[in-house]
Symmetry: C2
C-alpha cells in the first residue's frame, strides 16, 4: 500500500509509492551531452561573457582575463533586466509589470568538468561567499523583493551550458512557492506560540534518524518526509536564522562541506545525475520574517514530472525518503551497529563527514 504524506510547510501532498525496493540503477539515465566547443565559461574565454561583476582571482591578474577561480557575470540572455522602474498595469482580470530584476551567473570554476561534487571544499566555500556577496549587494536595490540562488546541473535539469555554474535572480515580487512556505511557517509559529516549524522538523528528524543523510556542527541534511522527488534532500542550519546572509564564517565552511558531501553522494550513487538546488531564504526589503528558517533544497531530476503532477501539484514519488537516506548515506547500519549495541540502526545519524575527497 502506498502512503500519502503531507508537507505542512507548503500544504502539499505527496504519494510515496514504493512498490518494490528501488535501487539506484533504476534511476540512472542516459547523459545528454551538451555543447562544449569554445565554452564561454572556461578559463581563457573570459571575453565571450558580458563584463565581469566580481571574481576571486590571483593578485596582479585583471578583470575579464584568466587568473580567477570563481567568477560572476551578468546573464547574457537575462529573464529579467536591471534597467528601468517596476511599472504595473492592471485590468479587472489581467495584471502585468515590467520585467525588471537581475539575472547573474556564478561560474564555479574555470575548469569545464568540475561540478561542486568534485570541487575542493574551500572553493565551494568561495562559491557560497560569492552568493552572499551578491545577495548583500542586490538587497540594497529597493525595487527587488526576493533573491534566489540556484544551480541547474545537466541538460535535463534545464542547464543550457554544460560548464558548472549557478545563477542568481532578483525579482520584484515574492514568488508563490516562497510565499506558501512563509505562510506555512508563520501559521505554525503563531499556532505553537513562537516555535519555528523548521526547528521542530530538525529536532524530530534527529530523534527519529531514518531520514538523516549527513550532519556536521552547523548543518543537517535530511531526505524530507514528504519528498516530491527520488533522492530529494534539504540542508538545514541547526541555528535558527531567517536569512542565508546571516551565515557566520564557520557556518559557511560547514555548509560548503555538507553541500559538497551531499552532491558527491548523488554523483557517486547515480552517476552524475541532473539536479537542481536552490536556496530558500527570507524576502528582502519587507517585513520581519524572524519566524522563517532559511535552507537549501536539492531536487535530483531522475524521474519525469507528468500530467498528474502538473495538473494537481500532487506528486508521485517512487522512492521513499527513508530508502533514499539509507542509499545516500552509504552503509550506515554497519557504523551504527558497531557503536550503538542494541540500538536500532538509523540512516546516517552517526556518519561523520569525510574530509575533502
Amino acid at each position: 500500500m502506498s502512503e500519502i504524506r503531507k508537507d505542512y510547510i507548503t500544504d502539499t501532498w505527496v504519494v510515496i509509492s514504493e512498490e518494490r525496493a528501488r535501487r539506484p540503477k533504476d534511476f540512472i539515465r542516459t547523459h545528454l551531452k551538451l555543447q562544449n566547443s569554445t565554452c564561454a565559461f572556461c578559463g581563457g574565454n573570459e571575453r565571450q561573457t558580458p563584463p565581469e561583476i566580481f571574481a576571486y582571482r590571483s593578485p596582479g591578474t585583471v578583470r575579464d582575463s584568466p587568473g580567477w577561480w570563481v567568477r560572476t557575470v551578468p546573464n547574457k540572455f537575462p529573464a529579467l533586466r536591471i534597467e528601468g522602474s517596476v511599472e504595473k498595469h492592471s485590468t479587472s482580470i489581467y495584471s502585468s509589470m515590467s520585467g525588471v530584476g537581475c539575472h547573474e551567473v556564478i561560474i564555479q570554476s574555470p575548469a569545464h568538468d568540475r561540478p561542486i561534487a568534485l570541487l575542493p571544499v574551500d572553493q565551494v566555500k568561495e562559491v557560497l561567499e560569492m552568493y552572499r556577496y551578491r545577495y548583500e549587494d542586490l538587497s540594497r536595490d529597493r525595487r527587488f523583493k526576493y533573491i534566489i540562488a540556484f544551480e541547474n546541473h545537466g541538460a535535463e535539469a534545464g542547464a543550457s551550458l554544460e560548464h558548472p555554474h549557478s545563477q542568481l535572480i532578483a525579482t520584484p515580487m515574492i514568488p508563490v512557492h516562497v510565499a506558501s512556505e512563509l505562510r506555512g511557517a508563520d501559521n505554525y509559529f503563531t499556532d505553537m506560540g513562537g516555535e519555528c516549524i523548521f526547528d521542530s522538523i530538525l529536532s524530530e528528524e534527529l530523534k527519529d534518524g531514518r531520514r538523516v543523510v549527513f550532519q556536521n556542527e552547523s548543518f543537517v541534511c535530511i531526505a524530507p518526509y514528504a519528498s516530491k522527488y527520488p533522492y530529494e534532500m534539504m540542508i538545514l542550519p541547526r541555528r535558527h536564522m531567517s536569512r542565508f546572509t546571516d551565515l557566520t564564517v564557520v557556518e559557511t565552511s560547514d555548509l560548503a562541506a555538507i553541500l559538497k558531501r551531499s552532491l558527491y553522494a548523488l554523483y557517486a550513487l547515480l552517476d552524475d545525475p541532473p539536479y537542481n538546488f536552490y536556496i530558500h531564504t527570507a524576502p528582502i526589503n519587507g517585513r520581519d520574517y524572524s519566524f522563517y528558517h532559511w535552507h537549501l533544497e536539492i531536487t535530483p531530476r531522475v524521474s519525469k514530472v507528468a500530467g498528474f503532477e502538473g495538473g494537481t501539484g500532487f506528486y508521485i514519488n517512487t522512492l521513499s525518503p527513508e530508502s533514499a537516506a539509507l542509499q545516500l548515506a552509504g552503509e550506515p547500519a554497519r557504523h551504527a551497529q558497531s557503536t550503538m549495541e542494541g540500538q536500532v540502526a538509523t540512516a546516517g545519524t552517526n556518519l561523520r563527514l569525510p574530509e575533502e575527497t
Copy 2:
C-alpha cells in the same frame, strides 16, 4: 524588455521573455523512442493488461479480446489503490494517510500510432464519453474527493508506454493546484458579486482576439494570458458549468472537435511534441462549487523546467501567448482581413474548425 504577468486564478506570476521572434523549429526536440515490442495496449494483446473495466466494442465480441476501439483497464502499477479505507495518522509536524484511490488507464485506440491528433473526431468523442462514464462511476465512492483525467504524450511528458492512452486518478483529498484555482475563482465570485472569473476571461479574450486559437459553438481554445509554457492552451466551455460531467451530447462532440484540432495544431507545428493535458473540474462529494468553471489545459513539454521555476513557482516562458496563438491558428490574418474589412486582424477568431482530417 520582458513582461511579468499574473494569473489571478492561481495567484502565480510568469515572466514572458521573448527576446526575439521564436519559430516553431526553436522548440522541436529529438524524439525519445519508447519501447514498442509486444505492446500491452495494442489490439490483440488484451491479455497483457489487468481485466477490462469497460470498452466500446463491436457486438458479439467479448471482454479482454479484440473488437474494441476505446478500452479502460486498471493501471497495472497504480499510484493509489482502490482497496481499503482512508486511514489518517498525524503527529505535530507530520501527517499521512493510506494511499487509497483509483488509477485507471483509457486506451484511446487499438492502433499503436494514432494519437488524439490523428484520431477521427467520433472516436475522440468516445474517449471523452469514457472519461465521463468513469467520472460518474467513481464519484459514487464517498472516499474520493477529486478525480482527474489526463494524458501524458511522449517520454518527456512522463509517458512510460508509447501507445496513446490517458489516465484517470481519483484521490482522497483536493489537490493543491485545484484548491488554489477554487480559491481564486471563489474570491473573484465573491468580490464581483457573483461573476465567474472564467466567464470574464472568455469574454475578454473573445473581444481582444489575440490569444484565441480556435473556437466552435460550445468551446473556445485560448493561449492563456499568463502561459507558463510555450504553446500552452486552455479549452473553455462557453456555457458556465462547474463539472466536466455536465456536458451535453452536442457539447461533447464540440469538445472532441476542438481538442482534436488543438492537438493536431501542436502535432503539425512541432512535429508531434511531448505534451500533457488534464481536465480541471469541481471536486466530488463536497460543497457547492457553482462559482467554478471546468476546463481542459494543454501543456506542451518543449522547454525545460529548471531550478528557478522549481524553487519559486515563478515561470519563465520564452514565447508570448500572442505569438503562440498566431502560430497555432495558422495564418488567420488572411482569413480575418478578407472578411472583416478595416478591422484589426486577430489570431484565429474567425477560423472554422476543419472537418475531421
